[in-house]
Amino acid sequence: MTNPTHERIQGLVDANDVVLFMKGTPMFPQCGFSATVVEIMNRTGAPFDAHDVLQDPELRQGIKEFSEWPTIPQLYVKGEFVGGCDILREMYSSGELSELLEEKGVVAA
């Protein structure tokens, strides 16, 4: 990996168990999809680290390439890309998201 932005992103997703790339902040999301994911994560009770891509054009472009995913928000758990808003909504409704977070030791079982 020689792309400095990708190296930086790798560092960010390794730095915390749950990392969310979003538009705006958890307190003030600037997009409905980001707001939905924040709401879902708050309900799971898992602490997460959030990065506002609107404050960082390099990150905004870089994360799309890094994940091979065209949209934001994007959630990483233990360095692994889990999905965006649609997938997280589906996983939350089915209970898979809580299972995953418990399995990874992010929330107590």
């Binding site: 999809f33 799309k64 091979e68 995913w69 065209p70 949209t71 890309f81 889990v82 999905g83 965006g84 808003c85 649609d86 997938i87 589906e90 996983m91």
Partner: protein, 77 residues
Amino acid sequence: MPMSAQDIETFIKEALPDADVTIQDLRGDGDHYAAHVISKAFEGLSRVKQHQMVYAALKGRMGGELHALALQTSTPD
């Protein structure tokens, strides 16, 4: 220029010829869609990979001229 539901379906079917594609124009504004794509090609793949296949079919339009496409993928029963 926004994409029509027909355009979206055409792109997806080009890449996934067996796909059963259902598209809803959520707000009637030609800009916010929901799509359910059912294809055998998704078998054994994670949701992320399944969605990536649909995004690849849209050839970079997702997140660009196609602003919002709520996506659901599944395999035929």
